[in-house]
Amino acid sequence: MAIDKKLLSLLLLVSSLSSIASASFSDPDSDSDLTNELASLRSNSESGVIHLDDHGISKFLISSPTPRPYSILVFFDATQLHSKTELRLQELRREFGLVSATFLANNNGSDLNKLFFCEIEFSRSQSSFQRFGVNALPHIRLVTASTAKLSDESGQMDQSDFARLAESMAEFVEQRTKLTVGPIQRPPFLSKAQISVIVAMIVIATPFVIKRILRGETLLHDHRLWLSGAIFIYFFSVAGTMHNIIRKMPMFLQDRNDPNKLVFFYQGSGMQLGAEGFAVGFLYTVVGLLLAFVTNVLVRVRNLNVQRLVMLVALVVSSWAVKQVVYLDNWKTGYGIHPYWPSSWQ
């Protein structure tokens, strides 16, 4: 290990020496021109991510002599793929912007112009994609100062490097460029102005609300509202909605064997799909409410035939729903629940 490290540092030393040497030989004016141009492009763009096209790529990366005074981190984007949510392109692009903004905020002086954040878009710069040899997204590539060939894939960010979003991207950058990005500064959920407006509104509204409460004429005094709220919470809980939210379960899946078929019910306890939970929760609620309805409202109905009919419908619906739920539960958990009879009966 130790030998490796020494070797590495030696190599680094050699390379940096050579870069200094070559920098002094190459034309310093054109280098600083390019850097200044990039810096001005950066100051004009949102969160410091420069939008490059084929022309920009050739100018800043191809035609410039190899020990460049700057590194460039390129984000490869494709608008046509934004609709494919599993690629998470838009999310990653936002995180990329965050890293860039943090880098700008935490660095000033000489380090600031050593790293630029850029993005290129597929539909407008297809030849650059070919030059980089990129044919799968998401893809983020670091082009270091000494990278000569663009198709060199050593600067590619691994899947694991953006698994933890901006934080791991920043780690990658710090590791490769020896520059500091610093802790990621995420914008707060609500801006300060918004918070103050909300607080002010609450403060203003409080006396009025209290006045109404004391008079007893708010919505809160309506039984029906409370009842429907209560039923909703019940439905929300027993349908496993929290499970869906926490696990981010989809409503249904596509059948692997037959893409046209949709799978609504997942076999195996401890897991469920969204639609499945809602369907079962609905069945629960219907039966319970029917029972309440039959024993509390139906008895007041005067017309005998209506009573009979509703009663019959309620009975049939409830027994069907109960049967269905029990059947589904047995199917899902794989348990065969059966009564225990005395052994002499068998």
Binding site: D158, T206, P207, I210, K211, I213, L214, G216, L220, H221, H223, L227, A230, I231, I233, Y234, F236, S237, V238, G240, T241, M242, H243, I245, I246, R247, S269, G270, Q272, E276, G277, V280, G281, Y284, T285, V287, G288, L289, L291, A292, V294, T295, N296, V299, R300, L304, Q307, R308, M311, S318, S319, A321, V322, V325, D329, T333, Y335, I337, P339, Y340
Partner: protein, 725 residues
């Protein structure tokens, strides 16, 4: 049997004891008491399946710690127990036991034990511990009866007692042998609520005092007391908002809060948290609000001018809210009021734990609940619950508001975490009991009015004793009889299905001690795997008494209790870094792990492996959590290193880091030579159904010490460092 008791009203109405010449009231009393007695016995014996199927022993993981401390308490006395510093766990840190546990359960069991001794019943403390949970479950049915009586009527009380006696949601945590805090805590929880509701109803100081002591018992028994101290203020707040403020409420809440707080602070584990932590602030805020209400009432009484009062009101309320807000802000900012703990926070924002606290998210009972778990634990109660809600809203009172709030909040929390189904169970049983009782009562009284049309005066018997408001039926409706009979049959069918379901679930699913495993053989016979105890007794008898054992934290309590050896980490997850160190050792290469183990003075390493038997909750399946928890503290451990394309594999396609980490090597050492299933190659892992990827494992710094008969537990000795020349 249970079905018969689940609907006592029908029994009441159809039986007649004319030959005994008892008055109607006496008959009713006799029936009620005998039904309650039967329910009491039923609740106890239904929980004995585990003793019948296995043996009288302590289950699972945490109960072993409770058992060990109870044993210590009965042997050394209370003060020794209170000041106990345990050097056998969390080596080298140790743990102050007296200050970091809820002593209610141990003290209860010890008291029962001493009482039995005093009465000259010479039982072993283990038997007492095993049977504590069923005993308290029986007591819970009594509380449920009184609670039901309080919020509805005696019929509902009886049904509630019968329902809760066999409800799987409660049985899952209270079978014989599951000697855990929840066993007594649910009793204490329901008792506190019952006494508080009673106090609010009567406004009497003595009931409020009772509820304060109930709360004290709950605090001493279980961390779930936080639920009480937040639900009660919320309830009071709702009563205030809906204009139900009364002197009764004032007396009940103030007495309960102040006294309960003072008592709760006597428990060392809670101490000053009760006035400082954010979780308890709601109770204090509502307490202050109550005083404001009382003050306003008083001023209103003094001032006769309404306009003057309005102005006064506006000023007081605004300033009170401002002062309260500022005080809370300053308290939090200065650190005097601590923010919420992770577990509590994850209840309010359920996605929090998954992202931030792997140690909470890793526990299987902290997973969110799918609908099938609800169905499994409540069965038909879920259908009855909405009906019960409807009945409660029909007859709104302080008591029914409480039960509705209790039911809804706890159901929501049950949706977030599987284990909280337990807390919701009493509420669900009570509300469903209201539905059953009210329905059956309506229907039977309907039937009886038909039968006894000539003698209308005498129908006010047992069935419709108290709730005359419920009988909303008109007299002349010939259809009703048929309809009522059909509905009754339906209800009874449902109840009998419930009884069948509960019995089956108790017997098959919830009576497994999980330290002894059972499986069905090829011919339907039962095969018992007793490997855990085999390994622990091996440790006890074959290792030096000061040996330190490293294992994943799940097995810590069992090793200390049964193997009597020092462990590095155990199930009390108070020190994340220490657990992460073990996780790091398990997921490193052997030589790196060896350095960590040397620094912790580890002598033996214990792993649990299910590849031979097909036992799926073994260390390989838990391994990703070790990586996550380890990586949370030591960033050198990275989860993607152990995955291939986001997939966890142990076969040939597994990642090289996975194939050479310590855990993999210890689990699969010499496994490659073994044929586990006919027709499969050697080294076929039955738990994961694959052929393992690294069959030629060489150990350098460890050596195999013991492997149990079914390979479930494997113990390795850490070799001392080689002599330097």
């Amino acid at each position: 049997m249970a079905a018969k008791k689940a609907s006592p009203d029908l029994v009441n109405s159809s039986f007649s004891f004319k030959s005994l010449k008892l008055k109607t009231k006496q008959q009713e009393l006799l029936l009620r008491v005998s039904i309650l007695g039967l329910v009491y016995v039923l609740a106890f014996i239904a929980r004995l399946f585990s003793v019948l199927r296995y043996e009288s022993m302590i289950h699972e993981f945490d109960p072993y710690f409770n058992y060990r401390t109870t044993l210590f308490l009965t042997e050394k006395g209370f003060y020794e127990f209170w000041n106990w510093f345990d050097s056998e766990s969390w080596y080298p840190l140790g743990r102050i036991i007296g200050g970091t546990l809820y002593p209610g359960l141990m003290v209860t069991a010890a008291l029962i034990y001493w009482t039995l001794r005093f009465l000259r019943f010479f039982v072993h403390i283990r038997e007492v511990c095993v049977l504590t949970a069923p005993f308290f479950a029986s007591n819970t049915t009594l509380v449920a009866y009184f609670f039901g009586k309080e919020i509805w009527d005696t019929g509902a009380g009886l049904v509630a007692a019968a329902l809760i006696a066999i409800c799987p949601g409660y049985i899952s945590r209270s079978v014989a042998g599951s000697y855990d805090n929840e066993a007594v805590a649910i009793f204490a929880l329901l008792l506190t609520f019952y006494l508080f509701v009673k106090a609010v109803k009567t406004g009497s100081l003595s009931w409020a005092l009772g509820s304060a002591f109930g709360y004290f018992y709950m605090v001493s028994a279980w961390g779930g007391y936080v639920f009480i101290i937040n639900l009660v203020p919320l309830y009071v707040l709702v009563l205030l908002i809906t204009g139900r403020y009364s002197m009764r409420l004032y007396v009940a809440y103030n007495c309960m809060y102040i006294l309960g707080m003072l008592l709760a602070m006597q428990i060392r584990f809670v101490g000053f948290q009760h006035v400082q932590s954010g979780e308890h602030m709601a109770a204090m805020g509502v307490f202050l609000l109550m005083q404001v209400f009382y003050f306003l009432d008083w001023v209103k009484h003094q001032l006769n001018d309404t306009k003057l009062f309005q102005t006064f009101l506006r000023i007081t309320v605004t300033s009170a809210i401002l002062v309260g807000g500022i005080a809370l802000g300053v308290g939090t900012a200065s650190g005097y009021i601590s923010p919420w703990t992770g577990r509590f926070y994850s209840l309010l924002d359920p996605t929090y734990a998954k992202d931030h606290i792997p140690i909470i998210a890793s526990v299987s009972e902290h997973q969110p609940t799918a609908w099938s778990s609800f169905m499994f634990d409540y069965h038909i109660l879920l259908f009855l619950f909405p009906a019960g809600l409807y009945f409660c809203f029909k007859r709104l009172s302080d008591a029914t508001i409480f039960i509705v709030m209790y039911g809804l909040t706890s159901l929501y929390f049950a949706g977030v975490m599987v284990r909280l189904i337990l807390v919701a169970t009493p509420a669900v049983c009570l509300i469903s009991a209201i539905a059953v009782s009210a329905t059956v009562k309506n229907l039977t009284s309907l039937l009886r009015t038909k039968q006894k049309v000539p003698q209308t005066g005498s129908t006010k018997g047992v069935g419709s004793s108290k709730s005359s408001s419920k009988v909303t039926l008109d007299q002349s409706q010939p259809f009703h009889k048929n309809g009522a009979i059909a509905l009754l049959v339906g209800v009874f069918y449902l109840l009998s299905r419930y009884a069948i379901h509960c019995t089956w679930v108790t017997s098959e699913a919830y009576s497994s001690p999980s330290i002894v495993l059972a499986a069905r053989g090829a011919h339907g016979n039962r095969i018992i795997f007793d490997d855990y105890r085999e390994a622990y007794y091996w440790l006890r008898q074959n290792t030096p008494t000061d040996a330190k054992v490293m294992s994943w934290w799940d097995y810590g309590y069992q090793i200390t209790a049964m193997g009597n050896r020092t462990v590095i980490v155990d199930n009390n997850t108070w020190n994340n870094t220490h657990i992460a160190t073990v996780g790091r050792a398990m997921s490193s290469y052997e030589d790196e792990a060896y350095d960590i183990m040397r620094s912790l003075d580890v002598n033996y390493v214990l792993v649990v492996f299910g590849g031979v038997t097909g036992y799926s909750s073994d260390d390989i399946n838990k391994f990703l959590w070790m990586v996550r928890i380890g990586g949370g503290v030591y960033p050198v451990i990275k989860e993607p290193d152990y995955l291939v394309n986001g997939e966890f594999r142990v076969d040939k396609g597994a990642s090289p880091k996975m194939l050479n980490c310590l855990m993999y090597k210890l689990c699969y050492y010499r496994f490659g030579e073994l044929v586990t299933e006919y027709g499969k190659p050697t080294g076929y892992d039955r738990a994961r159904g694959v052929e393992i990827g690294n069959k030629d494992i060489k150990l350098e710094h460890l050596e195999e010490a013991y492997t149990t008969s079914n390979w479930i537990v494997r113990i390795y000795r850490v070799k001392p460092p080689t002599n330097r020349l």
